[in-house]
Symmetry: C2
């Protein structure tokens, strides 16, 4: 066998909790922010009531997916007490003792807007945020599709986000971030057991790509993937695909939804990633990579190590 | 928008032929090499008779997929006149005026065995060979599966293979090569319009991964993918999945087969990759890559440039 991988790969850590229920809240988003916050709280409570201890919200859960609304709905994260969406997430995480991956909301910071996911721990602590890295800029629109250029309104994040939680190492990507295999490869190399993708794919890319990309990121990186979309009848200028999903490490769909508002409760067991006679041991892809032919560089980790 | 890709990407060239029929020969492989050669010739002739000008054979088309048979069926490519499988491909390519991507056969060279694909042009010329880079070594076998460790018998290739043909730039991967997103990314960056994967997935990985991986490599790299498997009732120690397939640049399955012996004729039109209002223009993924966060290195190209 020729030379194998030399990329730096974190061994998988055994997290505090390896078996749990994830609650996926496929919200209907309206043009009224306070109503969205109220509804999100209700669905989080419903998910926790059904046993979910890790809860995922959709992309832009407090704001319609319309570029012209982002500024109006945006919150400044530097003072959480004046950021009602974040405040609710923190309070409900604490009161229910759950971890919440807060989909995304528009964030305002130093005159810029970002599409940002916030993660709150079970004591209500604001553990991490992920600013969407790959913005959804269509070139020429396909026939019948609405043009969409997110970067006219939103600035792109500069950092990948992997968070240590009670549920292991969780990577976060938002919507178009899923189209780039590199981000999932980076998360996998940093030790992620689960990647969460809040997203709001449209009808054509949704039908063509949403499930395919989730299954692929899971199986190519031998980890779990969970996604959460707003429901189709959400407000905004384009129709949303829906179909929030949880995929296991062999690329198998464990559970998925239609396009209506719903809460999906799914059992996750990390033993599927690592157990004897299971996937990583049967197919040790990492040791079979060919760094003599190709290499993948995690730029920020490399530069911080040098 | 933050900084974009700095990886070296070849612009797509317009090949001599942009619309053509590809013929996929899903052969039944027996334990008799001369019969396999005869049958392959017949199916190539059948494909050409139906209008195919580019023809793809399966992995190990002259030899059962059994590690213990590779040495017996292997040919030395240094003298094509004493390599009956190659000689047939060259002769039939020339007589029919077709390009043949010859699946794979066991190759012997300097005491080593390789799992090798040979590409012949329409004048019968031996244009390129690809030695399988990622060998299929299972770790612990999954329940109910036969252990398979290809590297006990076969040496791994050292080079990716992209070939300029009348049908554009074609990348070649063999079977387990498809599991590595990096190889397809490398081919895409080198300008491939089509990646051909001869393969012989087994029943469990076939059902779980074969279609998924083909669709993903196509859509993530915005190019065509074609695969060719032996039929299920081929000789050998494990049951073969079959299901040879052609996938378009949006990840759509254009045509696929079952598991029986068959010839699949599929129309390919590269306009689907590049045409106005189509995929690469609508979703300019290449310009959206984030080299400030991750980079992908084509090692052999970089070292030859330095």
């Amino acid at each position: 066998m020729a030379s194998n991988s030399k990329r730096t790969v974190c061994p998988l850590q055994i997290p505090k909790i390896t078996q749990f229920k994830i609650g996926i809240c496929q919200l209907k988003v309206t043009t009224e922010k306070s109503a969205n916050i109220l509804k999100a709280r209700e669905l989080i409570q419903a998910a926790a009531g059904k046993g979910a201890s890790l809860i995922l919200l959709p992309e832009m859960w407090n704001c319609p997916c319309s570029t012209d609304m982002f500024a109006k709905f945006a919150e400044d994260f530097s003072d959480i007490d004046s950021a009602p969406s974040l405040l609710m997430l923190s309070e409900v995480a604490s009161s229910l003792g759950v971890t919440i991956i807060g989909g995304s909301v528009p964030e305002k910071d130093a005159g810029q807007l970002y599409n940002t996911c916030c993660l709150f721990g079970p004591n209500g602590e604001f553990k991490a945020k992920h600013r969407k890295i790959h913005l959804f800029d269509m070139g020429k629109p396909l026939l019948g599709e609405v043009q969409f250029k997110e970067s006219d309104y939103i600035s792109a994040g500069k950092n990948p986000t992997v968070v240590d939680t009670d549920f292991g190492c969780i990577g976060i990507g938002i919507c178009h971030d899923i189209r780039f295999p590199e981000l999932a490869m980076l998360y996998s190399a940093r030790g992620a057991q689960l990647i969460c993708y809040p997203g709001a794919f449209n009808m054509s890319t949704g039908a063509a790509l949403w499930e395919l990309e989730q299954r692929t990121r899971a199986v190519d990186n031998q980890l779990y993937v969970a996604s959460c979309s707003p429901s189709r009848d959400s407000a905004g200028s384009y129709a949303i695909w829906g179909h929030s999903t949880v995929v296991g490490p062999m690329g198998e769909i464990i559970a998925t939804t239609g396009h209506d508002k719903t809460v999906l409760i799914v059992d996750v067991d990390y033993a599927a990633i690592q157990r004897t006679s299971s996937y990583r041991e049967s197919f040790p892809l990492e040791s079979q990579r060919r760094s003599d032919i190709y290499q993948f560089v995690d730029v920020l980790t490399e530069s911080s190590n040098s």
